[in-house]
């Protein structure tokens, strides 16, 4: 059995009184495209920076490519591609010089691949990074992080501030060039992530609320609407029902453990006279909002 590229065990990171990561357990399967979602301040960037040893954990262990993140050596970094939205780049360098500068650092640097990506992204080689737009800069960063065929690609909010066209190009380039690699991506752009992620993790207040395959997640979340003949809402509803909204003859909620037979039986037992039951699949964005609002309310 191969080791997970990313594995966290009871990982905590504390900034003075703020617990940014709270005993987090996480396993990212090899070859997966793992999307880490969560509201602002949930701890996504902290987690990523801890994974790449920019920050050191307060307790617990984060292992990357089988090595404790605190002990990541150049050998491991040569197999990790990291792109972040707020990364400071050597702005004085031209695109060409930037790539040439980095080439000797990576034994597996693939010039052909770099050229392909440059062509695909239409990056001007002789232009300084400081003169590039934000989207172009992110593309240059991506090229510099994929040209050596890393085993693990870590992206921190790579789409923020990019227009839809650039975003599409970015994702296209990423998926084409990163085949076989494990991708760990944090993003607010849930619509984009949903289209290509294989696994999803939801982080809130430093705690991982869930972590599962995207298909399973999509399958277990449903928005359900029930029309009732008489206004009779029982006091105790199942815990798996979130964002319950009621009107005299209507109840709407998000079922988080949807299974067709079982859920229908449950509805029939709670609302025996239910006239009309509508069950709709939910996009990732809706799931995110439902979870975020519920957790915020609970907090």
């Amino acid at each position: 059995m191969t080791e997970s590229p990313i594995q966290c065990s009871q990982l905590s990171k504390k900034f003075k009184s703020l617990m940014a990561l709270d005993h987090l357990d996480l396993t990212v399967p090899e070859g997966s495209i793992y999307a880490l979602i969560g509201p602002n301040g949930a701890g996504k960037t902290t987690l990523i920076k801890t994974l790449v040893n920019i920050l050191r954990p307060s307790s617990g262990i984060a292992s990357v490519l089988g090595v404790d993140s605190r002990k990541l050596s150049p050998q491991q970094f040569a197999q990790v591609g990291y792109v972040s939205e707020n990364q400071e780049m050597p702005e004085w360098m031209t695109v060409s010089y930037f790539l040439n500068y980095l080439r000797p650092f990576y034994p597996t640097w693939d010039d052909a691949r770099a050229s392909e990506m440059l062509k695909q992204f239409d990056l001007p080689l002789d232009r300084k990074l400081s003169q590039l737009s934000r989207g172009m800069k992110m593309k240059a960063a991506l090229v510099s992080s994929l040209a050596y065929r890393p085993k693990l690609i870590i992206l921190d909010e790579p789409f923020s501030g990019l227009d839809p066209l650039v975003r599409d190009e970015f994702i296209e380039g990423l998926l084409e060039s990163a085949s076989g690699a494990t991708i760990f991506i944090s993003s607010h752009d849930l619509a984009e992530i949903e289209s290509f992620s294989s696994h999803v993790g939801y982080l809130d207040q430093g705690r991982l609320q869930f972590s599962e395959e995207s298909a399973a997640l999509a399958a277990r979340f449903r928005e359900i609407e029930i029309t009732l003949p008489t206004p009779a809402i029982p006091a105790n509803l199942p815990e798996s029902w979130l964002r319950v909204e009621t009107s005299p003859s209507l109840i709407r909620f998000v079922e988080t453990r949807f299974e067709e037979v079982q859920t229908n039986q449950q509805i029939a037992s709670i609302f025996p006279g239910a006239q009309n039951v509508t069950i709709n699949p939910m996009p990732l964005r809706e799931i995110f909002i439902a979870l975020a609002k519920t957790l915020r309310k609970a907090a």
Binding site: K49, N53, I54, Q75, F77, S84, N86, M89, P104, F105
Partner: protein, 492 residues
């Protein structure tokens, strides 16, 4: 190695303009230094005299610039996740500093020495760079590794300067209270060694600590604790400065006790002296640090008097200022010549032409009084001189004179009964820098003083031509040609 070179090359490309500026300033400073020692052209010196003082500032900001290319504090730098280990990164930065600061300075020294037709002794020149590297470059390197930008670096420098100015001011006012014992390395009269001065300990600890912080910061990037660790020794200098050591305090008291003793005695003794073998090469038989020790024969002196000489010497016909003094011991009289403000090192097999000029003082010592016997116009203790026999086991006699030969200098004489010598110090009022222990250490590298360069380096220096001339003649015309050697008879 390949990656070190890659980072190094990148830094050169990025910092090409500052490097070129530094080299231009270096070249200018070199020319200034050469001109300062060679046939004098006052106008040209004045025109470009700014370069030596600009040089250290350029060094500091070049260090900051190269380190900030891969800024250590922060979490957003692209290079943090690139596969280069901290030892390689540190090595690349150190090589950069070594090449463009240390090596450039070394080269400049070599050019200066060869322009003045002086022997180049690489080891001695490298030795000069040790204090520079420890007291300036290393702390600057450390400071830059803790900063997020040039502005923060400049702020750090300001803090350091403020601390030093406080030290300077305190030493200035302390100097005017009563006598000053002299700074570290300034006085040989009381064996004022580093071990007697707690002030020196932070200065020793600072390079050690900065080395530790640099390693710690590169390896772990724990910026906040490292900043705190750096601030502690800097600020600890202030209390060390504000409370003088017991040695200094007791010396103040000692000097003040005898402050008003009048100067008495006849000034009519005649004597003459000559250098042995002045027409042929003189092999120096003894050496003290970087000094030439030449045997001198003095005739006509009674046995119970002491002779002191103090003055300047000029080397190879150039205006390289050397200091000389005359002293006696059991083996007779010796003329000691040492370089006070140039980088000249007397090295084995070095051939030098020296022209020396001395003020001669002849005096007797009766009880605690120093009685001048030489004629007016020569160096002699002025009215207001106070002396006493020292209570130390070295049997030291300390003398403090009034204004010296020039208006802006004072002579302070320290005379051993066994090994008499006279040392010249600037007035504390005129030159407080020299009397600040911290400053004398810190400014040591800039002074390019090499009189204590390498102990025991010059046991067999050869003086080919040695001419003794009156100081007045020297002041009138600068020697630009070799002076015809000949026995010189001094008849005041």
């Amino acid at each position: 190695m390949r990656l070190i070179f890659q980072v190094f090359r990148k830094d050169i490309r990025r910092l090409t303009a500052p490097i070129v500026a530094l080299l231009i300033i270096h070249a200018t400073a070199t020319v200034v230094e050469i001109e300062r020692h060679w046939p004098v052209q006052p106008r040209s010196i004045n025109r470009i005299d700014w370069s030596p003082s600009v040089l250290p500032i350029t060094w500091l900001f070049l260090i900051a610039a190269v380190l900030l290319q891969e800024r250590l504090p922060g979490t957003t730098q692209y290079w943090l996740t690139r596969p280069i280990g901290w030892p390689k990164l540190l090595a690349a930065k150190l090589i950069f500093v070594a090449l463009f600061i240390n090596a450039a300075w070394f080269l400049s020294d070599c050019v200066i020495l060869s322009s003045l037709h002086l022997a180049i002794h690489p080891l001695a020149l490298l030795y000069h760079q040790v204090p520079l590297s420890l007291t300036l470059l290393l702390p600057a390197f450390c400071l830059a590794s803790l900063c997020t930008g040039v502005g923060q670096f400049a702020l750090g420098l300001v803090v350091a300067v403020v601390v030093f100015v406080i030290d300077l001011l305190f030493n200035f006012f302390r100097s005017s209270i009563g006598g000053v014992a002299g700074g570290i390395g300034e006085s040989s009269a009381v064996d004022f060694d580093i071990q007697y001065s707690p002030v020196a300990w932070p200065l020793i600890a600072l390079p050690a600590l900065t080395l530790f912080i640099i390693g710690f910061q590169f390896a772990r990037r724990f910026t906040s604790p490292s900043r705190l660790a750096l601030l502690i020794p800097i600020f600890s200098l202030i209390p060390f400065t504000l409370f003088p050591t017991m040695d200094l305090f007791s010396m103040h008291q000692r000097v003040r006790m005898f402050g008003d003793k009048p100067d008495t005695g006849p000034s009519s003794l005649k004597f003459s002296f000559d250098f042995e073998s002045s027409r042929k090469p003189v092999v120096v038989e003894r050496s003290y640090y970087n000094n030439l020790q030449l045997p001198v024969r003095i005739e006509g002196l009674p046995k119970d008097v002491f002779v002191e000489g103090l003055g300047n010497a000029y080397l190879n016909g150039a205006q390289i200022r050397l200091s000389t003094n005359l002293y006696n011991d059991d083996n007779g009289y010796w003329l000691r010549i040492w370089n006070a403000d140039s980088k000249v090192n007397f090295v084995p097999s070095m051939t030098v032409d020296v022209t020396a000029s001395l003020h001669i003082a002849v005096f007797k010592i009766e009880k605690t009084q120093l009685i001048p016997l030489s004629n007016p116009g020569l160096f002699s203790p002025q009215p207001g001189t106070f002396c006493r026999s020292g209570p130390t086991t070295q049997n030291v006699l300390q003398c403090w004179s009034g204004p010296g030969q020039s208006s802006d200098e004072q002579y302070r004489a320290f005379t051993w009964l066994g090994h008499s010598s006279v040392e010249l110090h600037s007035s504390p009022r005129e030159n407080p820098w020299a009397f600040s222990p911290i400053m004398s250490w810190t400014l040591y590298p800039f002074g390019r003083a090499s009189s204590e360069a390498l102990p025991g380096l010059s046991p067999e220096a050869v003086v080919r031509v040695l001419t003794l001339r009156p100081l007045a003649e020297f002041n009138r015309t600068l020697p630009t040609q070799k002076i015809d050697p000949g026995p010189y008879r001094f008849t005041p």
